[in-house]
Symmetry: D2
Subunit: 305 residues, 4 copies
């Protein structure tokens, strides 16, 4: 049965894994996060929030933001306007590779690899007058927390290591699949990655995925039931970098990970989960975080399969 | 509500799609199947079988057999014996490509692309004295139909067009990931692809996927509940060639397709579905069959997402 | 025997090929060059200049400039400073592909594909205070023609279509193999490509390649005899995009082509040749130009093989 | 000046390199060859044979045989019959890769990578009743040595490690670019690789490359002057695996290497050289052998550039 005690117990079981992964180190702000951080939050569709460990401590959500940006874009564009510019298939390659992108004429495989998320950022840039501010308001509302901010140090640091993402954007522009200036769009993209949120924030924010598009926190419809089902499908097949198959096999929930060590996952109709443990596995997904979700899935007997 | 009438109605809606795809033509036996064939069968976990169209006509199940071979292997080997030789990730490439296979040292991405299924065939060959006969018995029992057979003409024809699959097998053998003689294993592999089964047969056969591993037809446990969940996860991320993301997005069920135009899919805990329409889309999945599953999912409001 | 009459005769023989290729069209300034232009100039090591056709008309030398930039860099850097940042091997891929560049950690295959030439431009940018002016002076001196200029329209037009080259530069910078700001370096790179020179200019300019590094025009040593031999070797294996093998097979001279339809080639110890015909073959090399060089090689019995 | 003393001197200079490479070890028969073997033979077009070191000791010529098989095929087929099935361009990839082969529809890049040589073996198989015997007679005649044989142990050992080459052949057959049974053709291919010849044998055998197609040893025309020029061009751009550019840069002669540590190279119009030193560099070319050729080229001031 789902209790705070169960969550504590799960964290105790996965804590020994800490030390067997590696904290993301490509920017200093991520490298210095203590590897021992470990938190979990579960929001049931009945509105109960259960937590354990460092569930209230904010961290850099990184690629988890890709799901938020896509959600925002789904409200601004007709489906075909989005899906003609980015695919819906797993990539089978590293999250930041240019190889497949060149072979497939600048159309990214899905919105959760870097190239795809950069296309989404380009879409937001074309339609919103202040995309960065709009995303922040969107997240604050969903999380019911007006104190959520961008970590400016992380965003600036990402921008200083942006060469590969700039290469991705320019390559897509050479194929006609990028419409704005590269640097401002990348700047927004990196700000989204630099959102600081806690497990509790994330569980509230993504509760619409578990509830047919209606936020448990606000009671408002964020996207339609059909869009929710579709978004969950994309998360299940593409949300965990090149480890989506393994995640589905072990955890069996649609989810999205970030190199900050966070993962959000949902059991549609039942609950939204957010975990955080900074050390990553070889695919870039939180090592202890994945293990915690696997235990949760097994002990509750809850998954989509 | 799920009725035979609903199924008839769905077939009527998708029938206009016939003519917009292409029937598999790499072997004559497949090329000559009438494109107008269209059938669907749904077996509920309560044991009710509903059908429409050509649901009782047998066709070449082709790659749907990859799920059966893997199920058989799951009963013969410890998990790590299988998963050290074949991965669990979507490939992001054509089903019969050698490129990724060479770059990843002869370890196929998953058991549902050709290379992966050939590894599974190699595993069965190593452990069973008569793998071809054993698979047939296994299928006959699951389907409750002792008349199911291999289509010898199809199997022989596949064998005559086996060069690319032979290349795949030899490449894996060069990496130490194939242990038997190539031709006999390919012969078994092609026989599995040449199984002739109807939608009704398939719905009965795969009912264990919807029922925690226990066959609705026989009442016997085929695999464990955990294995069932894992197999469904693999099907959801890798079961539809390079169209798994699109299938999840539109249909939202774990499934497996074949170039004969068949697809099986399940809603765990609820039902097993088999459809057949020979014309394929650009990913090699049944065009009208996918559309029928999408309609069924939408009209029943049933999917895993 | 090498006479102006022979050159006229050769042009007559290849003129019927005009109409079977395609003029480069990615920028308007190139697309509007008349396809019927055809010229050849041969400068013997004895100092005799023989010409035919449009040998005195200036055109956009495009990638032929890559050999000039490398020659300039050879005088500014120790060999290992250059060759640790760019390789000496044929690429086996399109001239502007990013695939190999990513797989080989940002080290371009050779200095004559775009990525390699952009590294050379980066090298020049790091060491020269006014690289664009310096290259122009260098070329004017070698050609003995102070009127040679950059085509500003072409350079500006290239800059407006620079996305793919920007992607290449950023990708190399992400691997630590690009040290300056991208846009200024690309601007210089595009100016070099936009040099306007005639066949006569080119034959004079590159005469050092046929004469152990000493310009026939100026009598000065441009590079050492060993460097000359090495540069000719690079041109022979990498100078004709992905058509170097075919060019060696048919023509048998070290050479460098440009998408403006120019080709320079040398028989070391004997002569320097420049041809111009705007229509290109599928590899991007002048179609009639290659044929003219082949005829010249065969009729004189002169090649390096 | 070219003397036996100069050759001795060159061997002394390169001998210290022994120990810095690695002897081919994929089959035992190659792995056990002493790494200290070192030999060189130069045959001038005047008919003078100069030697040093182990120049008379036979070794496994391996891929050097690819140049002999192609020479034989040039006499049996019209050019277009050969060149429609195999290209003339450097591959830019490892000698035994399947990646490029799949991307280029089963047409190998050139006749000196494995795939290309297997196509040539397929061509010989189609036209000759006893291709293996014919090649042996051809070599014996060219070398003026009726004792040259196939090393049966090496050939059998290669056959036992033939999986990757079988994959290559089957992949080409799937594209319609291989016409015979795979195993007999591979058997012939491996026998050609298993020819045992000394540096002296090799210098005599390949003297036609330096002499417009006429063997210095026999005085007979082996191929035409034009074919000779073309073959030398192919060797210059494709003869040294993925190290052709570096070899041209350092040595400046058309050449062909084998993983047995042998290399043959020519200065057209002047001389034929054969070297042997079993340790290889990272491209699979003889490390000390390449260095010896580089010294010879520099000290004589002879190269094609």
């Amino acid at each position: 049965m789902l209790t705070a005690h169960l969550l504590e117990d799960i964290l105790d079981q996965v804590r020994p894994l800490i030390g067997t992964g590696h904290v993301a180190s490509y920017i200093p702000a991520l490298a210095k996060v203590p590897a021992t951080k470990l938190g979990i939050a579960v929001l049931t569709n009945q509105g109960d929030m259960l937590t354990a460990g460092d569930a209230n401590e904010a961290f850099s959500i990184q690629s988890i933001s890709k799901a938020l940006s896509l959600t925002l874009a789904l409200g601004l564009y007709a489906p075909q306007e989005i899906w003609q510019r980015v695919g819906k298939e797993p990539s089978g390659q590293a999250f930041n590779s240019l190889i497949q992108l060149e072979m497939e004429q600048g159309i990214p495989r899905n919105p959760f690899i870097n190239a795809g998320a950069i296309v989404v950022a380009d879409l937001l840039h074309s339609r919103l007058s202040a995309p960065r501010q709009r995303l922040l308001e969107f997240v604050r509302q969903l999380a019911g927390d007006s104190h959520i901010t961008y970590d400016k140090v992380v965003a600036a640091s990402e921008m200083m290591h942006s060469d590969r993402n700039a290469a991705i954007a320019y390559l897509m522009r050479s194929f006609g699949n990028f419409n704005n200036e590269v640097l401002p769009v990348l700047n927004n993209y990196f700000h989204a990655c630099a959102l600081k949120m806690s497990c509790v924030d994330l569980a509230r924010t993504f509760s619409y995925l578990a509830n047919q598009g209606v936020s448990i926190e606000t009671g408002h419809a964020v996207i339609s039931p059909t869009q929710t089902k579709q978004l969950n499908a994309l998360l299940a097949t593409c949300g965990l970098y090149d480890g989506a198959g393994e995640f589905a096999y072990r955890v069996g929930m649609p989810g999205k990970s970030g190199v900050g060590g966070g993962i959000i996952a949902v059991v549609p109709g039942e609950m939204t989960v957010a975990v955080w443990s900074p050390e990553l596995d070889s695919s870039g997904n939180s090592l202890a975080g994945t293990a915690a979700l696997e235990l949760l899935s097994n002990q509750l007997g809850r998954s989509i399969f």
